[in-house]
């Protein structure tokens, strides 16, 4: 073995130097194991081949002699390098007769299947081994020829070299191999830690781009998806993924998946829509992190064969796919899934550190958790924006709803004060004023009720139920209708007219009279507001299958099937309603539902159907009667 360091160019440091940490300790341990061998040993890294921590003072005299000769250093170095590489490729310790005729041993250091360096030691003759001696003698002769020295010059020095037995050689191979495994283990751990730390920092940076501050500049949800696309591509790079996709449910089509982001881009060739049963998607989102090493397994779990075959997830041998579900909404179980396919281990020539996905699960956990937190924050922020906007709009609408009529009242009052109206007109104006003031009073009461309802329902303590006979019920319905007489007349509407006959078979109802009146007034107000001119508004009752129903029908703007539930939500009005009557608060029907809930009734709207007056819209209050009501 040639010990002198070769005149190589300055290197950044081999992988073993970068990741092992304390090479001095390694040297000491190696020297102790090799004390029987005079402590000679060196390490040759594969990525930057040269001798590490060798000591010329421990060389056998033969080696020192050869080194002093012209061409001797090169002879030894090439011999060591060739056998170091041979051992690295075999992945196991080997012994061989070096070009100086001495026995050497090469033990590779193997990290995750890759030989990264080789330990070389030996410089001994084998005791009483004719085969060895024949080879050694031939090698000595060849060395003398190559170094251009007289035959027999090296023989004398060779004979002075210490001998070892074959058994001692085998024992040393085994001991040094244990040291190599130990070193490989430490190196793997250090590498893993260092790679994970570096990736973690980069991932944190990428995820930081998803921060709320960045998203404030864009439409919160829309923007967040756009930012995610860029972050995902960078995540793939940082995680050393060969490929990756983001799967989302199609926003408009249930049971359809969309490949929303992809790395590397497959351009237009990729089919972006995949039919998939909803249960499969839920399974994927519920799965938690999972690793799979082949596409078939992935397919058997989630049934996305097309994804595995058509997308970039078609993985090379030995690669892994990790599924990272990110739940945006845990209650509704919605979210997206990121699928990363690992890069296969580098070729034997490229000794770049490589970490398989299963050793990086904590990083994926971090990604999923951070994305979940970010998205929750974004969704909360978005909801707050929507709520704030609704609140702002509500206050504005409330103001408009009151200011307009109050202006009207003041106008009437000024006219009366100025005495400019004829007496008969003055009387009518006073009647109008009473009715308009009543309407305003109802609006104001509605605002108060809406505030008291709070987030979900009336306080049950405000519920004062009593028996309401059919006659009383009709009286309330008619009284409420009368309070809209002037407004209805101004729009040339007919009604609200109560079909009293239809209530004859009605059972007595248990209800809170005051709240019931509010409910009916709001239904009438709604019917009048959205009716076309000269159309009728009717109120009828019926008893059917143990249920009593009160039905308010008007004819006006259309009500689409997808709006029948939405219009009962707080601060919500249909686009047609907003256009037809720009001033409105979206709380009237909401109050109706809350009053109905308090009575354990239901209220619903039917989608409009065409009629001779426009679109016929029905609002139906359903009251369980008999046993249900007594309960």
């Amino acid at each position: 073995m040639m010990a002198e360091e070769q005149g190589t160019t300055e290197v950044q440091g081999s992988r073993i130097e970068r990741f092992f940490g304390d090479l001095e300790t390694f040297d000491i341990i190696l020297a102790r194991v090799l004390w029987k061998w005079g402590g000679q040993g060196a390490v040759i890294p594969r990525d930057h081949p040269r001798y590490l921590f060798d000591d010329p003072s421990t060389f056998a005299p033969l080696c020192s002699l050869i080194r002093s000769l012209d061409g001797g250093e090169e002879l030894c170095w090439i011999c060591d390098l060739e056998h170091a590489e041979e051992a690295a490729q075999v992945g196991q310790p080997i012994d061989y007769v070096c070009d100086n005729g001495l026995l050497d041993v090469a033990v590779p250091i193997v990290v995750r299947g890759q030989s990264i360096a080789t330990i070389i030691f030996g410089q001994r003759r084998v005791f009483e081994d004719p085969d060895y001696e024949a080879v050694a003698t031939a090698k000595l002769r060849r060395a003398e020829e190559r170094l251009n020295i007289s035959p027999g010059t090296l023989q004398e020095a060779w004979e002075k070299v210490d001998t070892v037995t074959r058994a001692e050689v085998e024992q040393a191979k085994s001991d040094v191999d244990r040291i190599a495994s130990f070193v490989a283990e430490i190196l793997a751990e250090n590498e893993e830690l260092q790679i994970k730390t570096e990736r973690s920092v980069k991932l944190e940076e990428e995820l930081g781009r998803l921060s709320l501050t960045n998203l404030l500049h864009t439409d919160p949800l829309k923007g967040s998806w756009q930012v995610l696309r860029g972050v995902f591509v960078n995540m793939c790079r940082v995680l050393n993924a060969q490929s990756g996709i983001v799967l989302r449910e199609h926003p408009g089509r249930k049971d359809t998946l969309i490949i929303w982001a992809q790395y590397p881009s497959a351009g237009k060739q990729l089919k972006h829509l995949y039919p998939v049963p909803g249960s499969r998607w839920k399974k994927l989102i519920d799965a938690g992190l999972s690793i799979t090493t082949d596409a078939d397994e992935f397919d058997s779990q989630y049934g996305f064969l097309q994804l595995a075959t058509e997308s970039t997830l078609t993985s090379p041998e030995r690669a892994e796919t990790v599924v990272v579900p990110v739940r945006i909404d845990r209650i509704q179980n919605s979210g997206f899934a990121m699928l990363f396919s690992s890069q296969s281990p580098p070729d034997i020539d490229e000794l770049e550190p490589w970490l398989p996905f299963h050793l990086q699960l904590d990083l994926f956990e971090m990604v999923a958790s951070r994305l979940e937190v970010s998205y929750s924050a974004i969704v909360r922020y978005h909801e707050r924006l929507v709520y704030e906007e609704a609140r702002r709009q509500y206050v504005q609408d409330t103001t408009h709803q009151l200011v307009g009529p109050l202006s009207g009242l003041r106008a009437h009052c000024e006219n009366l004060l100025r005495g400019r109206l004829p007496v008969e007109r003055g009387r009518k104006v006073l009647e109008t004023l009473v009715e308009q003031a009543g309407l305003l009073q109802r609006y104001a009461e509605n605002f108060g009720l809406a505030a008291r309802i709070g987030k979900s329902m009336f306080d049950p303590s405000e519920y004062r139920p009593e028996v309401c006979k059919p006659r009383q019920l009709v009286e309330i319905l008619v009284k409420c209708a009368k309070s809209f007489q002037g407004l209805a007349k101004s729009k040339d509407l007919r009604g609200p007219s109560v079909d009293e006959v239809s209530f004859r078979g009605f059972p007595p109802l248990i209800l809170d009279m005051q709240l019931f009146e509010v409910l009916i007034l709001n239904l009438y107000d709604n019917a009048i507001k959205y009716s076309y001119e000269s159309s009728p508004i009717t109120v009828a009752g019926r008893v059917l299958n143990g249920k009593a129903e009160i039905e308010v029908t008007n004819h006006g703007i259309p009500l689409n099937p997808d709006e029948v539930d939405m219009i009962f939500e707080q601060y919500t009005r249909s686009p047609e309603a907003e256009e037809f009557a720009p001033v409105g608060t979206g709380i009237g029907l909401y109050i109706c539902t809350q009053i109905a809930k308090l009575h354990k009734w239901s209220i619903r709207a039917l989608p409009s159907r065409r009629s001779r007056y426009g679109n016929e819209v029905k609002f139906i209050i359903t009251v369980p009667v008999g046993k249900h009501q007594r309960q």
Binding site: T399, H400, V403, G404, P405, S407, G408, L409, R410, A411, H412, C413, E414, N415, R418, R420, L421, R425, V429, T432, Q436, G486, L487, K489, S490, K491, E533, E579, F580, A581, P582, V583
Partner: protein, 133 residues
């Protein structure tokens, strides 16, 4: 005194009956509930309209809905009348809207004056008189 004809565009005619009472003492009033009705009045030529009192928040009607591009119906109506149809009819807005952006838009279109509904009919009458000769 000449009785001028005012087109009063307001969807809440019942609520704003006091304004009609007040204005109709000295003027003829033609009423319209939305943009379409108001345009129909102007285009029919049945009345010689001397001034328009215009609400801003009102139902647009089909024609204005198709054209308004997100503007409030009253603003778009004023634009059609003054810019598109180039009618030389003074428009006074009488509104609860208190939005400087909308006010600027109305001024650019050429609306003569904007009176808040907080003002009494007498103030509206005073403003109207400025533009009726």
């Amino acid at each position: 005194m000449t009785r001028h004809t005012i087109l009063y565009v307001e969807d809440e005619q019942w609520m704003m009956g006091g304004i009609v009472d007040s204005l109709s003492i000295d003027h003829n009033i033609v009423r319209a509930r939305n943009g379409d009705q108001a345009l129909a009045v102007l285009e029919s030529g049945e009345f010689k309209i001397d001034l328009i009192v215009l609400d801003i928040m009102m139902p647009p009607g089909t024609r204005i809905k198709n054209a308004h591009r997100g503007r409030r119906a009253g603003v778009e109506f004023a634009r059609i009348v003054l810019e598109e149809q180039k009618r030389n009819i003074p428009i006074v807005c009488y509104t609860v809207v208190n939005d400087r952006k909308v006010y600027r838009e109305l001024e650019q279109i050429g609306v003569k004056e904007i009176v808040s509904k907080r003002e009494l009919p007498s103030e509206l009458e005073r403003v109207i008189r400025k533009y009726l000769h």
